[in-house]
């Protein structure tokens, strides 16, 4: 189940002006596993993902993707090395159609119609809405769209920022289950940021808790879930 | 309400939110006017007639720039049409003095009034326009208004424009008092009036209202400021200044012709205030200086490099274009901003021994 280390982050720090949003974070994400990053609002989870994918600039530390440094490399190029980031809010381009959104994910590698078909197999609901504007999709459908779009770039590492945000519990559970399956079946290394700690820990192999940008816990998911003190202090359940 | 009357030099950065007793600002502006007046008089006495003419040009450019920099810097509204507003002032003046034989001061006052009226019209339309839309609309004004002179050639004299007789110096100055110096004095007087008015405006309630609306319309309307009226007022004031500038131009050149007020003038005015520093009265002086002196400098450069007239005639504009581009890319606060930073840096190193205490709040271009 746990494979090689796909993504290694060491002492990563990110500053917004005088505010240190990410403070010396170290973590590893292995192939075929789900690593959940948890913590309160403002703990630095989103900033962490944005720094790894290149949207934000790190002030210190390293991020290594399959042995290659990716800090300082342009976002578009990090994507080409096998990292996909589904941003906060899903990032669905509402003025484009569902199919156009999907195709965008695979354009840089010249993904063919077969790959697109594969996504429709995975997400039949999207096939029904393929020509509709993405703005008309429900929250759950948008989440599927953004994940499908990311998968079309054939990534080996997948960053997900709060996929369950705004979704009904049932839908959210389905999405979580999907993420788990993707990690196992496709040997993806998944770094999952979530507000909903309980839900995330239920599918994760590892749990990392951030507080004010720093790692306060890094352990097997079951251990983190069982820790009363941690849960009450940082995770809200 | 405590005052810091006289404690701060007039070139200190304006911390616009601090309350100042009106008396402090008034005395300071009177002092400024007196100082400027003395310098101006002395300069005009020492200079020959060509330089006096340049001094006069600098004065009327300053008048127009002082208003424009208030509009763009303090009120945050861009106008590419102020060349056209200067034309309104110039034509009003020449029509009244030439055809109707009005005296100097009433004609200038009328020029100011008419331009202010046009400014009110443009300004009220402009309140709903932002950024590029406002720029586009005023651009249309700049290109379109001078065309009126072609349409109504009877009144406006067509492409040749209207000419008037030069102003005669009063007899008590002596028979041999040079005309150019008299023109410089007239223009200088106008400039001093504007210095006084704009200084009080910038440091007073009106200036604060302008800046408040510029920085945050929603917040300022919640504080009771009527956004549309404040913005229109900024336009009216800047238009009045442009009109006075145009009127003074007509006094000095004794001519109002469409060619002088084309798009090139509007863009030159914009360049001058960007160069001087948006919102800065002192910057308006630097800008006026550049407008007056640059053509001469480029002519000399062209001469020493034996450049053709084709090149030298276009050199000032080429430099303006470069200045605008470079200034926005590298140097957004202009000369005055650069000076302010140097002064502030010098102060810091004296007080704090070189450590910078700058907080998160960035300095915004647009304060004196």
């Amino acid at each position: 189940m746990t494979g090689a280390v796909a993504l290694q982050v060491d002492g990563l720090s990110t500053d917004y002006g005088p505010v240190r949003a990410v403070d010396g974070v170290t973590l590893s994400v292995r192939e075929g596993s789900v690593t959940a990053v948890l913590g309160a609002n403002g703990a630095g989870k989103t900033s962490l993902l944005r720094t790894i994918s290149g949207l934000e600039r790190a002030s210190a530390g390293r991020a290594v993707l399959y042995g290659q440094d990716i800090l300082g490399i342009a976002v578009e190029d990090i994507v080409r090395r096998g990292l996909a980031h589904v941003p906060e809010g899903r990032g669905v381009i509402t003025e484009l159609s569902t199919e156009e959104n999907l195709r965008l994910g695979g354009l840089w590698r010249g993904a063919d119609g077969a790959s697109l078909e594969e996504m429709y197999e995975l997400f039949p609901a999207l096939r029904e809405r393929r020509t509709q504007l993405a703005g008309s999709l429900s929250g759950g459908e948008r989440q599927m769209l953004s994940i499908g779009r990311a998968l079309l770039s054939a990534p080996r590492v997948l960053l997900l920022d709060e996929p369950s945000l705004g979704l009904a519990p049932i839908v959210s559970a389905q999405i979580m289950q999907l993420i788990r399956e993707l990690a196992t079946e496709r040997r993806l290394a998944v770094l999952l940021v979530e507000q909903n700690a309980r839900s995330a820990l239920s599918i994760a192999d590892r749990g990392i808790v951030l507080n004010v940008g720093r790692v306060v816990a890094d352990d097997a998911a079951a251990v983190v879930a069982a820790d009363e003190g941690l849960r009450q202090a940082y995770l809200g359940f | 309400m405590s005052t810091s009357a006289g404690a701060e030099p007039s070139s200190a950065p304006n911390r616009g939110w601090r309350l100042r007793a009106p008396a402090g600002t008034l005395t300071r502006s009177l002092g400024l006017v007196a100082l400027a007046g003395v310098i101006f008089l002395a300069a005009s006495e020492g200079l020959g007639s060509y330089e006096d003419l340049q001094l006069a040009s600098g004065a009327y450019y300053f008048v127009a720039l002082a208003g424009l920099t208030v509009l763009t810097g303090l009120s945050g509204q861009i106008s590419l049409g102020h060349g056209a507003l200067m034309a309104v002032g110039a034509y009003t003046f020449t029509l009244l003095v030439g055809d109707e034989h009005w005296a100097l001061i009433p004609a200038l006052a009328a020029a100011v009034l008419v331009s202010a009226l046009v400014g009110a019209l443009v300004g009220s339309a402009a309140t709903r326009l932002r950024g590029p839309y406002l720029a586009g609309a005023t651009l249309a004004l700049a290109v379109g208004l001078p065309a009126l002179a072609d349409k109504y050639t009877g009144t406006f004299g067509g492409a040749n424009g209207l000419t008037i007789n030069p102003p005669t110096p009063p007899s008590w100055l002596g028979q041999s008092f040079p005309l150019e110096r008299w023109e410089a004095w007239i223009a200088g007087a106008g400039a001093l009036v504007v210095v006084f008015l704009m200084h009080n405006l910038a440091h007073g309630g009106v200036g604060r209202a302008f800046r408040a609306v510029r920085d945050d319309e929603i917040a300022s309307s919640l504080c009771g400021l009527h956004v549309g009226r404040v913005q229109t007022l900024a336009f009216v004031i800047s238009a009045a200044c442009a009109g006075l500038g145009g009127g003074l131009l007509a006094v000095v050149l004794q001519l109002a012709a469409p060619g002088a007020f084309g798009l090139g003038l509007s863009l030159s005015l914009l360049t001058a205030i960007v160069l001087g520093g948006l919102g800065s009265q002192l910057g308006a002086i630097w800008g006026a200086g550049v407008l007056v002196l640059l053509p001469g400098w480029t002519d000399s450069i062209a001469h020493s490099f034996s450049l053709s007239t084709q090149v030298s005639a276009n050199l000032p504009l080429a430099i303006y274009g470069l200045v605008l581009i470079v200034a926005m890319l590298a140097w957004p606060t202009g000369i005055q901003g650069a000076l302010r930073r140097i002064i502030a840096a010098a102060r810091r190193s004296l007080v704090h021994g070189g450590h910078s205490d700058e907080g998160i709040v960035p300095s915004s271009p647009g304060e004196l």
């Binding site: 994918s53 949207l55 976002v75 578009e76 080409r80 996909a84 980031h85 941003p87 990032g91 381009i93 003025e95 484009l96 156009e100 195709r103 965008l104 994910g105 354009l107 840089w108 770039s153 | 945050g76 861009i78 339309a125 950024g131 590029p132 839309y133 720029a135 586009g136 609309a137 249309a140 004004l141 290109v143 379109g144 208004l145 065309a147 009126l148 072609d150 349409k151 798009l263 090139g264 863009l267 914009l270 360049t271 960007v274 084709q310 090149v311 005639a313 276009n314 050199l315 000032p316 504009l317 080429a318 303006y320 274009g321 470069l322 605008l324 581009i325 200034a327 926005m328 890319l329 957004p332």
Partner: protein
């Protein structure tokens, strides 16, 4: 009656030119949220280049092709060198930089080619058609103008809607950050957007040059008309640019014909103000309020 027909046809022909400029402005606005006030000056430069090529080789079509090619190049260079540094910054800065470019280009043109406006040949005959017994002012050159503008507009439309490149360009314009996360080279897309826009602008310059003559300041008005047309149609809408161009062309043609040619720029100003007061998003506005 014939006068009305003449003015209407003239309006469509000049409107096509305004539409091309409007299209250029809209493409740049959609991609980089900047109004390219230097568009008129840019197309002035490419028209001058065409004029020089025609002058030295005697071939109109070679000059035509070179103008379009240099338009692509000029647009790309301006975006890469200048605009890249101000994208995403305060709008006022972008306006001033564009104006600076306008001034610089016009001055440079004056230095290189002189300030005296020169004539420019039309692509085809300007002798009006004879229909039935009536002689119209509308000429083969006007037919060419209308056809080529619509062909280019259609071509660009196909490019954006049907090709992979077009999809990437649209994504870059609509959501640059998300597009980057999907591997779209957003910077390159912006450069291409400016290149295509300048291409459309160059076309407009070639088409209008015979009537306005070629000189550093001769294309100022066309910028204003193009801007007004773009605002009329909605700065976000390429289709709106075409419709806006034709509508404006008609309006100005009637003003010029029934009133006076010198009032045309002021008439455009009136149209501009009217649109911005009544329907700020333009005729084809989406539900969003006009934002700058």
């Amino acid at each position: 009656m014939v006068r009305f027909i003449d003015l209407t046809l003239n309006g469509i022909s000049t409107g096509a030119v305004y539409a091309a400029v409007a299209l250029a402005l809209v493409m740049i606005w959609r991609a980089t949220r900047i109004v390219n006030f230097a568009q008129g000056a840019m197309l002035m430069i490419t028209t001058f280049i065409a004029s020089s090529v025609i002058g030295s080789t005697g071939s109109y079509w070679l000059g035509f092709a070179v103008a379009l090619a240099s338009g692509l190049l000029l647009g790309a260079i301006v975006e890469r060198v200048l605009i890249r540094r101000i994208e995403g910054g305060p709008p006022l800065n972008a306006v001033i930089v564009a104006l600076g470019l306008l001034i610089l280009l016009e001055a440079a043109a004056g230095m290189i080619w002189g300030n005296t406006p020169r004539s420019f040949p039309p692509a085809f005959s300007i002798r009006g058609y004879d229909v039935g017994g009536t002689h119209l002012l509308f000429a083969p050159n006007d037919t060419f103008t209308v056809l080529v503008v619509f062909a280019v507009a259609a071509g660009l439309g196909l490019l954006f809607r049907r090709t992979r490149l077009g999809l990437q360009m649209r994504a870059a314009a609509l959501a640059p950050e998300v597009a980057r996360l999907l591997g779209v080279r957003v910077g390159r897309m912006f450069t291409l957007g400016w290149a295509f826009a300048a291409f459309a602008g160059s076309l407009a310059g070639l088409l209008v040059a015979p009537s306005v003559f070629v000189g550093p300041n001769q294309f100022d008005s066309i910028l204003i008309f193009g801007f007004t047309a773009a605002v009329l149609g909605g700065l976000d809408s390429p289709a709106g640019a075409i419709v806006g161009g034709v509508v404006l062309g008609l309006v100005l043609s009637y003003v010029s014909g029934y009133e006076s040619a010198s009032l045309v720029t002021l008439a455009a100003l009136v149209v501009l103000i009217a649109v911005l007061m009544i329907r700020p998003g333009g005729l084809f506005s989406t539900t969003r309020e006009r934002r700058v």
